[in-house]
Amino acid sequence: MRNFNIALLAIFVGAIVLASHALGQQAYNWLPVAATTEADLVGHLFSFLVTLGTIVFLGVMGMLLYSILFYRATKNDPSDAPAIRGNLKLEITWTVIPILLVIWIASYSYNIYQRMSILGSLPLVHLHIMEAPAYAEMGSSDMQPAEQIEVVVKQWSWSFRYPSQNVTSTELHLPVNQRVHLMLQSKDVVHGFYVPNFRIKQDIIPNQTIPLRFTPNRIGKYQLHDSQFSGTYFALMTADVYVDSPETYNQWLAEAATRPPVPAVNLAKSEHSQPPKTPLRSKWHTVSPAQPPVVNK
């Protein structure tokens, strides 16, 4: 009987581990297409977190459901169950195992964050508890210094300035496979820089310049969204981001430099002057949108 129970438990644990592993592999698909080396790293981390999390979830849920199904009181049975008050060994086990698990998760996360080094490098701590499979993927091209791009936000517009060509744009163009170096600045309130495909996010604090580094590795068009609530037209504060091949990138810059600067089209501004006719309207005072940036393109 005892052996039978142990075998059952082993099957239960085995099934959970397999299912969790499968779900962990699926997890990559729940995120938007990865377009930076950082995004690849976060993908591995997320898959790892989903795997571990699913093991814990299914394990505990399994116990709960088993009890709910098999330990129902029979009808009109007023008696109590056995008075089991605890079990020291068990309680120590379920204290120590979570401690080990969170140490594992924290060191894995540290490892990933260190390799992303989006805010500059961290003290190198080598923790060999778990080598992430993505370790080898960091190309040497990451180390190449790239152009610094100034990102300027205000209520409610984005503008991107390329100082060496003196180009300003409402589109963010980035060369593929080069370390990008953004200088984030806000002219009024706190905003946030967030491209879901890049998996990076950084609040932009007014009157500070915050450097942000990452490496786009997939050519395509993506969406930038303001990620820190910035007032009335917050929802409209998006911009297009293009990751270009080096040729396209240089071509774009050269072409943009030839265009005369004009005030950009701005969604907040047009909605402010002509609000949509919604059934519920408040007529509350709102901050007027700042002058849209003057851009070449």
Binding site: W30, L31, P32, E38, V42, L45, L49, V60, M61, M63, L64, S67, I68, Y71, R72, A73, P78, S79, D80, A81, I84, R85, G86, N87, L90, W94, P98, I99, V102, A106, S109, Y110, I112, Y113, L119, L122, P196, R199, I200, K201, Q202, D203, I205, Q208, S227, Q228, F229, G231, T232, F234, A235, L236, P275, P276, T278, S282, K283, W284, H285, T286
Partner: protein, 547 residues
Amino acid sequence: MTNIFIKSASEPEPTNWKRYFSFSTDHKVIGVQYLVTAFIFFLFGGLFAMIVRAELLTPQLDVVDRSLYNGLFTMHGTIMIFLWIFPANVGLANYLIPLMIGAKETAFPVLNAIAFWLIPVVGILLLFSFFLPSGTAQAGWWSYPPVSIQNPSGHLINGEFLWLLAVTISGISSIMGGVNLVTTIFRMRSPGMTFLRMPVYVWTTFSAQLLQLFCLPALTGAAIMLLFDLSFGTDFFSPFKQGDPVIYQHLFWFYSHPAVYVMALPAFGVFSEVIPAFARKPLFGYKTVAISSLLISVISTLVWVHHMFASATPNWMRILFMATSMLVAVPTGIKVFAWTATIWRGKLHFQTPMLFALGGVAMFLFAGISGVMLASVPFDIHVNNTYFIVGHFHYVVFNTVTMALYAGIYFWFPKITGRMYSEGWGKLHFWLTFIGANLNFFPMHPLGLQGMVRRISSYDPQYTGWNVVASLGAFLLGMSTLPFIANIVSSWLRGRKALNNPWNATGLEWTTSSPPPIENFEEIPIVTSEPYGYGESHRLAADSSSI
């Protein structure tokens, strides 16, 4: 012994219902006043959430204008936290704590009554702001400067002004309530009720209210400074004039992370009372569960920066707070495992309180796991300020805490009113709530992973599918409160008379009549053993005959 619901002739008060509208100093009246008031505000908060979800049914802006949307989610969050969960928890604690520790009253009855009467003031201030020309506060419940102090109307009395006033008053009320509850638990326990014989609900309330005392002053101070910045031209937080908006964020989260545990700890307490009673088994590992409450409190004062991983925080800070945040999982995990072990080999009965408790535990498990994921800096950076966060914290504040409040209300309803609720309506309420809550809040996780930012009034069409599911879930959730209200109102008026101890449970509150007399006990009970003596010969652990 059985039916002591005789309108006692000894009571000086005229009729039963009138005292609920008076300045009563009876902790039981105050408890009910808190619960009913909080529930009314819960309906307002829920209504605002329904409008928000109606707007999010489609990608375009087509129900409310942008300012109104921002006002609605700000008021929704504020009301749900400061006028639903906090006062509902304090109400339940007010009712139960003296009964559970064998006391006649709380330590400071007048202070207690004042604390309660501040709550309607807070509510009126917030709801009134809808009628100002400047509108309500619209900067989210965090109210981060500078956006919160832009004041486009230029009026002195504006929505943000009333909001800050309301939050400050709510803070003062909470501190008063906290002083009362902490002192009561510390000083008024009956003979033999040592700390390690207190029910877990008492432990969790104690831990939660200690947090209020220790951390709330940071928020109240920040609110006052922000009010000065907004209205009187100071520059504590204005970035362009030597102020620092990030300091506000630290002060805010120094309180508002622990606030999550102020909300959640009493829910853990409710689970720890309800589950043993319906599993007919002692709470597994009582001492570790009790002490881990206090551990949760201590650790939770040291984790606040996990809300600021994407703010202007340096690397060392992000890493340090990642480590402390993950540690909270340990004492919290202990509790979940203990509840699981309690029902293991129990004799389970599935009345409504048990359904809500088990549903709450299951969904809390999910919330706890997504919480540990969020403590991981690189992952959080991706989902910070997205719907993943909104999903995660609603699994805590609704699917765990609100479920626990429902469990508690059903469990102690016979004690409070002297009548039984209707089991059928209760079960219907549970299933509608459980299904609605998951439909509403689960889809927010995939939406956040896909990158949908929170607090947006219109969104990219790629996110439509899950948003429709969430909105339908929300409307179902709105409907689910109807059977609850019908049940409570009709049972209170006409329900079957309740026994003193209808659940055959072990706490001291079940040794007195239903409802209890003015001073709670005929004789102060003497406690002789640990709580949760299910399956033991001397189950009630109290001895009032030996006095």
